[in-house]
């Protein structure tokens, strides 16, 4: 019995320690913009400052390079949403076609899709850069949006969904009733696709929003940056982590509270998507989605 209790106690301690490890940095980030740069150092790390400080940090951040921060957020929204829209428009039909179609090359497309999907996305960034460079597309926003739109995981999710969840008798019945190929998809398969659309939206949006490497290498103008690259740009301009900047003479007013606020605001859209999909994700749909 004693050992049993000890085991339970140890289990609780381990879980709590890990919960602190995962959550404390997030809590710190939420509280940091409420404090002045000085208070961040002197007051307790998890204390609350004031909303006035948040407003001030925002004013400094917003003033940075003539509202550049807003521009980055807007860029990220444009890149992520348009790429996700394209992803949905091509991957849901593609998954459907791969699941229920019979055509030469189907197996090859499926296997290639799987391989690219499992391969780390970063492995393709430099090759894509080299290719876009040869095509003289570097510096265009399309060189971010189009590669983002290629999301093989989305095709695979749609494929698995149609292959397992929709009885082919249902579609056959529709065909017998005289629905053509397109009408069968439009009237039957597409309305049934809601869960998979939600899933693809989630993964595609989050991976686009967080992508750093590709936009970092293909975009040159800081006005085109998404927020991920913008954050690293901001980091390089703050004297808090880069004393050389302070010595440059030009004051940018970007200190720790401003940097923390910039980071916090940058993750809000993804955090919202996470909260909305929380139940499905934690239940293990994610695991189930790629399971046999």
């Amino acid at each position: 019995m004693g050992i049993r209790l000890l085991g339970l106690g140890a289990r609780a301690v381990i879980l709590v320690v890990f919960a602190i490890f995962f959550i404390a940095p997030v809590l710190w980030l939420i509280l940091a913009p409420t404090k002045s740069d000085h208070a961040l150092i002197t007051s307790s790390p998890f204390s609350f400052g004031s909303f006035h400080n948040v407003a001030q940090a925002w004013n400094h951040l917003d003033a940075y390079s003539d509202h550049l921060y807003r521009r980055w957020i807007a860029n990220t929204l444009i890149y992520s949403l348009s790429a996700t829209a394209i992803t949905l428009a091509i991957s849901v039909p593609a998954g459907y076609g791969l699941a229920l179609g019979k055509f030469p090359g189907r197996r090859v497309i499926l296997t290639l899709t799987l391989v690219v999907m499992i391969m780390p996305a970063a492995a393709l960034v430099l090759p894509i850069f080299l290719e876009l460079n040869a095509l003289h597309l570097i510096g265009s926003v399309l060189s971010v949006i189009l590669p983002f739109s290629f999301f093989p995981f989305g095709v695979y999710l749609a494929y698995i969904y149609y292959a397992t969840s929709i009885p082919s008798e249902l579609l056959d019945a529709a065909r017998v009733d005289g629905c053509g190929e397109w009408l069968t998809f439009r009237r039957i398969a597409l309305p049934l696709a809601k869960p998979v659309v939600a899933l693809v939206f989630f993964f595609s949006f989050v991976s686009n929003w967080n992508n750093f490497f590709l936009p970092y290498v293909v975009l040159a103008d800081s006005n085109q940056y998404p927020i991920t690259v913008g954050l690293s740009n901001l980091l390089a301009s703050t004297p808090s982590f880069n004393p050389a900047v302070g010595g440059g003479g030009q004051s940018v007013n970007i200190f720790k509270p401003e940097l923390a606020l910039a980071t916090l605001l940058a993750v809000i859209p993804v955090a919202i998507v996470f909260l909305v999909s929380q139940r499905a994700l934690v239940r293990g749909t994610l695991g189930g989605a790629v399971k046999q």
């Binding site: 381990i14 391989v115 393709l124 993750v267």
Partner: protein, 294 residues
């Protein structure tokens, strides 16, 4: 089957739906791979170079340190995933559903902060003047100022920790999902036979999710070798302590951008691509986790 296919359809069933996707697969999946391969085995003027670009980039004085950094980072990260993800998933699997769901959600949250945001947060966490974990930095790393925290020897561990912080939650959820596929009668039978929670976890559950663990490790190994974002961002905040060629991918990037050596960059990109490709092919063909046939 033949009859349905022929009836009123001139194109094979399903093909039209897949067509819009094909150009994307070719342009951003296949073509870049082939083009990188081609660049890697040719010279600037397009003449055949054989393996020269590969040996040349390998002999670069920055190449071996970068390779070592990435290797240490990947090993530390894989070890952490192996022990903690599997351990936490097993711990949570034995819990009341409500409590377990709460923990899984808490562990998953940092996933929303992946990439650049996570790096910036951890720069704060590693700055002893503001970090809530300042006592840990002092006692474990002996660091009293930021520059000491990010001393070069610490970096592979720091990057592994950041990667673990953002990614572990998702893997815990996946492992938990895999554990849920174990039939409850099996566990019940073991319990009746007198097996304790430890025996059940390690002798029964662990072997049954072996495939998923292998999947996680292969995938993470391939991902780990691609390390770029973390060292690239930290380098901006490192007072010049961290070289801009810290990781292999950074070296490839620098070759292309600073020196215009696209062939050399392609050779390194191909090295990394092969690692990713081999990992992916092994998972697809050997694990049986992904179906390609119905």
């Amino acid at each position: 089957m033949e009859a349905t296919r022929k009836r009123g359809l001139h194109v094979p069933r399903g093909l039209l739906f897949v067509l819009p996707y094909v150009p994307f697969l070719i342009l951003f999946g296949i073509a870049p791979t082939i083009y990188a391969l081609e660049l890697a085995v040719t010279n600037v003027d397009g003449s055949w170079a054989g393996l020269h670009n590969f040996t040349r980039t390998y002999d670069d004085f920055r190449s071996v340190p970068a390779f070592k950094h990435v290797l240490v980072y990947t090993i530390v990260w894989l070890g952490a995933l192996m022990v903690f993800v599997v351990g936490l998933a097993l711990l949570l699997h034995g819990r009341a559903n409500r409590v377990s769901a709460t923990y899984r959600f808490l562990f998953y949250i940092p996933g929303a902060l992946a990439g650049a945001a996570a790096v910036v947060i951890w720069l704060f966490m590693l700055d002893p003047t503001v970090s809530p974990g300042a006592f840990l930095l002092r006692d474990l790393l002996g660091a009293r100022i930021f520059a000491q925290s990010i001393a070069p020897g610490n970096l592979p561990y720091i990057f592994a920790m950041i990667a673990f912080w953002t990614g572990a939650g998702a893997w815990i959820v996946i492992m938990y999902g895999a554990l849920n596929t174990i039939p409850p009668d099996l566990e019940e039978a073991a319990r009746i036979d007198g097996a304790g929670p430890f025996t059940i976890a390690f002798r029964l559950k662990l072997p049954l999710i072996r495939k998923w663990i292998a999947y996680m490790l292969i995938l993470s190994f391939a991902t780990g070798t691609q390390l770029f974002v973390e060292p690239e961002i930290v380098q901006h905040a490192s007072f010049g302590l961290v070289p801009d060629t810290w990781s292999t991918n950074q070296l490839a990037y620098q070759l292309a951008f600073r020196y215009g050596d696209f062939n050399g960059a392609a050779a390194i990109a191909v090295d990394l691509l092969v690692i990713g490709l081999v990992g992916a092919v092994v998972i697809v063909t050997r694990s049986g986790l992904f179906r390609t046939e119905d």
